[in-house]
């Protein structure tokens, strides 16, 4: 798995009465934190990349290819949500296995990949558990394990660790960083926490009222030179 560049060219989208228009360029294997006030359009941005929303105009490019018209499954993208990443009635192994085959037709190689992914995410031996028997952190690890077996060049994280405790969150961020080091996928991560951005992101895209109002490397964004509105947002 390697990364892929992402490019949004004047992507227009209306959500209710809010008009959104995104321009963003992310290099291959970059990690970008998407930050901004609630309702500014962070999740919508991710949904547009993932294909859950279709732009009214403009184009979404991944690895130089226009994917605007492609359905979600045909885009080289994996996504982890804040919750509901798992199907409650399927075991951990089955939930991960869905990343390989959406009808769960798995061969021996798939099974060993699944086991390896679970091991890599610290879930060895928990293949047969049901989601209800896992902690919140473990559930998100299952989701990451599925990302591994899917091995897509783009990973979208929609506040996946928002409901975890600080220690767990740090652990998960470490895991994402390690996975990124191993696989080099491009990561877009929506977060409210400056710490998350600090810990993981190379760059920060700041979203305000449906547009990307600033995009710069993390150091710049957390320095005196950051835009005023961003400083106000993070409370510096």
């Amino acid at each position: 798995m390697t990364g892929a560049s992402i490019r949004l060219d004047s992507v227009q989208f209306s959500y209710g009465s809010t008009q959104m228009s995104f321009n963003l360029s992310v290099e291959s294997s970059d990690i970008v934190a998407v930050m901004g006030p609630s309702g500014s359009g962070k999740s919508t941005l991710l949904n547009l990349v993932a294909g859950f929303e279709r732009p009214a105009s403009g184009s979404v490019m991944i690895a130089g290819r226009d994917v605007s018209a492609l359905p979600p499954a045909q885009r080289p993208v994996s996504m982890v949500f804040q919750e509901n990443n798992l199907f409650a009635h399927l075991t951990v192994a089955q939930n991960v296995g869905l990343g390989r085959s959406p009808s769960l037709r798995l061969d021996a190689a798939d099974h060993s990949d699944i086991d390896r992914a679970l091991e890599r995410t610290g879930l060895a031996g928990k293949q047969a558990r049901l989601p209800a028997q896992l902690s919140g952190g473990e559930r998100q690890r299952v989701a990451l394990a599925r990302v591994l077996v899917r091995s897509q060049p783009v990973l979208l994280l929609d506040e996946p660790f928002a409901s975890l405790g600080p220690a767990l969150r740090r652990e998960m961020l470490e895991l994402v960083r390690a996975l990124h080091a191993e696989h080099g996928m491009t990561v877009l991560m929506v977060t409210h926490h400056p710490d998350d951005a600090h810990a993981l992101a190379h760059r920060i895209a700041f979203i305000e009222e449906g547009r990307v109002s600033a995009c710069a490397d993390t150091a710049t964004m957390f320095s005196e030179n950051a835009p005023e509105s961003f400083k106000a947002y993070i409370g510096n």
């Binding site: 359905p71 949500f81 919750e83």
Partner: protein
């Protein structure tokens, strides 16, 4: 300390038990010494009746529920299907139609003089004799219950979190995988309840079975009960047969519950109704075919009802004071029944959930918890004539019969609508509870405040949906009124049958159209109010 919600639910359940128990007590007191003889009266004829009753109900249930699974799924996967909202409203209408009106509508298409008659006569070479017999009964039952089941399944599918639809789309789940992993688990949870409800409606079928059954071969227990209480005036036999009917239903419903899975894990309400479903052109075509055939099946007889309704002198009917009075009575009764029904249902739903929270995760639900869930449903299999006669016996010496009559209509309709209302409310309430229970407890929000602040916003839609069901059901009900002196409460369907019973067939057709229009308006109103944010 007993939780207040359990207390409320227990009161609700007690009210239902009182309604049923009172009727039984009244009839039993009337015929106390006759019971020994009655038990001996279970003969070959009765066994044949029982067999046919269960057989037609089981077949009708299967034919209504299984296609409904797929129609509901098609509707769920195509949130922007043209006319979807109207289709759903149309699907609530059969509930409000008196059986004979529906039968005439179906016969206008498939009857001996129906639209298909010439075609079938040419095809088969002999005069088409209509659909009388088991096929006619099944078609009519599917007409009533397929749309109902579809709506209930669709509600269940609405509880799938939108993240899971997205996940399915991203993982590239095809139709089959998506059915297996996303839709079927939810549908399977809803299946026993929906199938049980449809079964109850079919097992008590009376007019449809007699009119379309073609002869006394097609006789249900309900007919035998009616006969026992009417011509033979044998309350003991009526009570015995009713108990038999309840026992049969309970056995079937119990089996269905055993078959159904009780889903562990948390249900979540979709945050966003916008649901991206990757559907290829093939699926779109199939779904469209499915939806359109279901629509035609339901809309065909409705169209026939409209056509014959339009031939009536609608202007005269619209200015007939008797029609005005009946419309007003129907609306007041339906509204009263719906409000009462929702209050009772909500109390039962809350109590059930509270009991569920109190028990250990993997412990089996207690009898009380199961009663809260399905207990009220059994009122559906008690013939209205039994409820009416039983309560009449209790009330006859009080001089209150006239006051009680409309209250009886409201109460019985309210309780009869409870199984529908509970189906609509429970998933949403349980989901809301799963999310807010602890928060509410920690903030000390309970009782009315909790209902108003925490539950109402989430329950608003399902509550209005339940209301729509209850009103439609009550609007079409002919009720328990027969013995109470029917002129004290004249509803629209009552007026309709009265006109039909005195050669005024055209008037009856016009009134059926009125009834349909009123029901459609109510649905629209309820939809609007329910969706307002």
């Amino acid at each position: 300390m007993i939780d207040r919600r359990i207390l409320a639910g227990s009161i609700g359940l007690a009210a239902v038990a009182l309604l049923i128990g009172g009727a039984f007590a009244g009839l039993a007191a009337e015929a106390f010494h006759d019971f020994g003889r009655t038990l001996g009266a279970i003969d070959a004829y009765l066994l044949r009746v029982v067999r046919f009753t269960v057989w037609q109900a089981a077949l009708s249930t299967a034919l209504s529920v299984i296609p409904a699974l797929f129609v509901a799924r098609a509707l769920a996967r195509h949130p922007s299907f043209p006319g979807r909202g109207l289709i759903l409203k149309l699907f609530a209408l059969p509930l409000a139609l008196p059986a004979i009106v529906a039968a005439l509508g179906i016969l206008a298409l498939l009857g001996r003089a129906g639209l298909v008659s010439d075609l079938m006569t040419t095809l088969t070479g002999s005069r088409w004799q209509g659909i009388y017999g088991l096929s006619g009964i099944l078609i009519a039952h599917v007409f009533f219950n397929l749309p109902l089941a579809t709506r209930l399944f669709l509600q269940a599918l609405d509880t799938v979190p939108s993240d899971q639809w997205r996940l399915g789309a991203q993982l590239g789940m095809g139709q089959r995988a998506s059915f297996r992993f996303i839709e079927w688990p939810v549908l399977r949870t809803a299946l026993p309840g929906v199938a049980g409800l449809v079964f109850m409606l079919c097992i008590t079928s009376f007019t449809i079975v007699l009119t379309l059954g073609g002869g006394p071969r097609a006789t249900t227990l309900e007919v035998a009960i009616y006969q026992a209480l009417r011509f033979d005036f044998d309350p003991a036999r009526a009570v015995t047969l009713t108990v038999l009917q309840i026992a049969l239903t309970a056995a079937i419903v119990f089996m269905l519950i055993r078959l159904g899975a009780n889903m562990a894990g948390d249900a979540n309400l979709s945050v966003s109704p916008r649901r991206p479903v990757a559907s290829g052109p093939v699926e779109r075509v199939f779904s469209a075919i499915l939806i359109v055939s279901a629509l035609l099946f339901v809309a065909g007889p409705m169209a026939a009802i409209i056509v014959s309704g339009l031939q009536a002198d609608l202007v005269r009917l619209a200015s007939d004071p008797a029609v005005h009075a009946a419309t007003l009575t129907s609306l007041v009764l339906a509204l009263g029944a719906a409000v009462l029904s929702i209050a009772l249902s909500l109390s039962l739903v809350m109590a059930r959930r509270t009991l569920e929270l109190h028990r250990h995760r993997n412990a089996a639900p207690s009898l009380l918890e199961q009663l809260f869930d399905t207990g009220a449903g059994f009122v559906l299999v008690i013939p209205p004539i039994v409820l009416g006669a039983g309560w009449f016996v209790l009330m006859r010496n009080t001089g209150l019969v006239f006051v009680v009559a409309p209250l009886m209509v409201v109460t019985v309709n309210a309780v009869m609508a409870m199984p529908f209302a509970i189906r609509a409310i429970r998933p949403a309430y349980d989901a809301a509870s799963a999310r807010h229970e602890r928060l509410a407890a920690s903030l000390g929000i309970s009782g009315i405040n909790r209902l108003r602040l925490i539950d109402w916003p989430v329950l608003r839609r399902p509550l209005f949906m339940a209301m729509a069901f209850a009103m439609a059901l009550s609007l079409g009900d002919l009720g328990v009124i027969a013995l109470f002196g029917s002129d004290s409460v004249q509803t629209l369907p009552y007026l309709l049958l009265a006109r039909m019973g005195s050669y005024r067939t055209a008037d009856a057709a016009g009134l059926a159209l009125f009834l349909g229009i009123i029901c459609l308006l109510l649905m629209t109103f309820v939809d609007r109010t329910g969706n307002r944010t």
